[in-house]
């Protein structure tokens, strides 16, 4: 079933390409496996027919913008749009080269949760209204979408794009009264030793594939510190200290910039809750600087600037 959003994205993309407003459009095409969609770039208006949008389009498309020289149309959910704002602030994209197709979003399905609910392999899945209808070993199951959302989508307060040139649909109501930091408070409440153990446990099994980093729109450095070889800062084995160094340092590089889009966690092939490394920093930035990343176009993130009224009570 083609949704109205999909129809509208196709129409806008075809028009942008045929009127040569942009050189290419970045969106999604139908996935080859259930619960997935594949990011795609199209240049021919005819290819707009292949674009889709549904609850399986969880990849953050802002990740595909840095380094592009052409004029790009891009389908942007709330989180994608916030990362586009961040790219603009950090000079990774030029506003005049972008046409942002705003896509109101009601959250993305977490394929691991669906797999778990089905008790194994998911052989097909489709979206019907507020439900995900998925087939598994025990036959077809109807799951309430809100039960199988990605964790970050459950607490998202920016489902509508914060910046767009044309909306592909009516804005959706934002979630009210969500507790965004219950998980962080639970970790904060732990004694030092238990907190260390918590992070050790969630990091166990990391294979250093860097899917988390590479899926992250913030990680556009030409050479990541873990890849530097002259000098080499970090060991390459599965040594715990090196693995910690990677995760913790990467998280700190994202402080004040992370939009909690969940790309890292979504990408991890071994199920590490990667957002646990960045979320405390989100909370700190909100509490210390009243800051939410990617919401204010043109404003540099707090750790990137100095202001006289910055709180200084932590400098002793």
């Amino acid at each position: 079933m083609t949704t109205q959003l999909t129809e509208n994205i196709r129409k806008i993309a075809a028009r942008l390409l045929s009127e040569k407003t942009v050189d290419a459009v970045i969106g999604f095409r139908e996935g080859s496996v259930p619960l997935m969609a594949e990011p795609v770039i199209i240049r021919d208006p005819k290819d707009a027919e292949g674009l889709v949008f549904d609850s399986f389009c969880g990849v953050n498309l802002a990740n595909y913008l840095p380094g592009r020289k052409e004029r790009i149309g891009i389908a942007a959910k709330g989180c994608d749009s916030r990362n586009i704002v961040t790219h603009l602030v950090e000079n990774q994209a030029k506003r005049e080269n972008l046409f942002i197709i705003g896509v109101p979003c009601t959250g993305m399905a977490d394929r691991r949760k669906v797999r778990k609910a089905l008790g194994g392999d998911v052989s097909s899945a489709r979206e019907e209204g507020d439900e995900i209808v998925a087939a598994g070993p025990a036959g077809e199951v109807r799951l309430a979408k809100k039960e199988v959302l990605q964790d970050n989508c459950k607490t998202c307060t920016h489902r509508n794009p914060v910046i767009s040139d044309e909306m592909a649909g009516e804005p959706v109501p934002e979630q009210e009264g969500v507790d965004r930091y219950a998980d962080v408070r639970a970790v904060e409440a732990l004694e030092n030793e238990a907190r260390w153990k918590h992070f050790e446990e969630i990091m166990s099994g990391c294979i250093r594939c860097y899917a988390c980093r590479n899926a992250c729109p913030l990680c556009y450095c030409p050479t990541c510190f873990v890849d530097d070889s002259k000098p080499q800062w970090v060991g390459k084995s599965l040594d715990k200290t090196d693995t910690r160094t990677f995760h913790f340092l990467r998280a700190f590089h994202c402080a004040g910039r992370c939009t909690d889009c969940g790309a890292c966690e979504r990408a991890c092939p071994v199920g590490i809750p990667v957002r646990q490394f960045t979320k405390k920093l989100l909370k700190d930035c909100e509490e210390l600087y009243g800051w939410e990343a990617g919401v204010l176009p043109g404003v540099r993130p707090p750790l990137d600037v100095f202001k006289l009224d910055d709180p200084q009570d932590f400098i002793r």
Partner: protein
């Protein structure tokens, strides 16, 4: 080949008996999945996983492996001389490996063990291992082993293959190593008459449950350059984020990087899995990178799997159809889709000169 009948308690008792003569490795639960590792004392063998998240290659070829050690401490014998790192090559039983992963060892063997080179670490680790497979009666929707040269009951690379049947298992003892393992496990009850027919029927049923395919039939007949220069690579590679998930989960990806690490007076030379998806993989000391962009890297991965491997080692593809890369790619790059692009590609002017 000999057929044995095992009850569940035969299996449990057998595993305990094997511990006396073998190091036992098996699928172990970790977070929301399973990975191979040494079965802890007292732990029961859990064969409930459809497959392990990471392939069984790590048993033979760990993600990070010490090769040599060195000490600069003059008080130590052999100081300043690289010596082989301590390793345990005593007999090992690998239990519950799926046929796709066992077959993968036969695909990577020509690389690690051939007339020119014998990789001592891989070869010794492989040779000390006995593989007890578990046939797949409920393959996943992303399994395409039957079109990749194997199958859910394939015995390639295995010493014993267990197939669940009735209240237990039918065990095919396939090799001398398998015989030795069965003896050590105390498995000796011959399968009842008709077991062979039952096995064939189960195999046929499982084969029929493989619904996914990889199309590669026409790839051997195409030239490397025509495929290399094919116009679809940019589109096929667009979504790729150049992470190493596919290569690290893959049972046949074999590339590694050698690193030295030192702490105070002690050092090791190790090898770690590497990935052709990483820009660093081909970065020269000069700063030049012959595979400078993701299209080049994605093309390399699939050309190697589906074209170069077959051309070099005499047929077949460097893929067992386990489906891990398909299921776990964060951006839905699908080897089946790329294989069908390669398989169906006909250059417009192939003969125009």
């Amino acid at each position: 080949m000999r057929l044995l009948q095992l009850s569940h308690s035969d299996l449990t008792r057998g595993v305990e008996a094997l511990r006396k003569a073998f190091r036992v490795e098996a699928p172990l639960p970790e977070r929301d999945h399973f990975v191979f590792g040494p079965l802890p004392a007292g732990a029961a063998l859990d064969l409930s996983a459809a497959n392990t998240r990471l392939s069984a290659k790590s048993v033979i070829y760990p993600a990070s492996e010490k090769m040599l050690r060195v000490s600069l401490d003059p008080a130590k014998e052999d100081h300043h001389v690289y010596r082989e790192a301590d390793k345990d090559y005593s007999p090992r039983a690998v239990l519950g490996i799926r046929p796709c992963d066992a077959r993968a060892f036969t695909l990577v063997k020509p690389n690690f063990d051939n007339r020119e080179y014998r990789d001592p670490y891989w070869v010794r680790s492989y040779e000390c291992s006995t593989f007890v497979g578990l046939a797949c009666k409920s393959p996943c929707s992303t399994c395409f082993c039957t079109s990749a040269g194997g199958g859910p009951f394939d015995t390639a690379g295995l010493d014993v293959l267990l197939a669940e049947s009735g209240e237990g298992f039918i065990a095919q003892v396939l090799t001398e190593k398998g015989e030795a393992l069965a003896a050590a496990a105390g498995w000796s009850a011959a399968a009842p008459e008709g077991a062979e027919a039952a096995l064939s029927a189960m195999k046929a049923e499982a084969d029929a449950r493989i619904v996914s395919r990889i199309e590669t039939e026409k790839i051997p007949g195409k030239t490397i350059l025509s495929l290399f220069d094919a116009p679809f690579w940019d589109d096929a590679a667009f979504a790729c984020i150049n992470c190493g998930a596919c290569t690290y989960l893959c049972p046949t990806c074999w590339c590694f990087d050698i690193q030295d690490e030192a702490h105070e007076n002690e050092g090791v030379r190790m090898r770690n899995w590497d990935s052709c998806m990483f820009p660093l993989f081909t970065l020269h000391g000069s700063g030049h990178n012959p595979r400078p962009n993701k299209t080049a890297r994605v093309r390399q991965r699939f050309m190697h799997k589906l074209k170069y491997y077959g051309d070099k080692y005499g047929g077949g593809i460097h893929c067992t159809g386990c489906g891990r890369c398909v299921t776990h790619c964060p951006v839905n790059i699908d080897i089946r889709r790329i294989a069908s692009l390669m398989n169906g590609y006909e250059p417009d002017n192939a003969c125009a000169l």
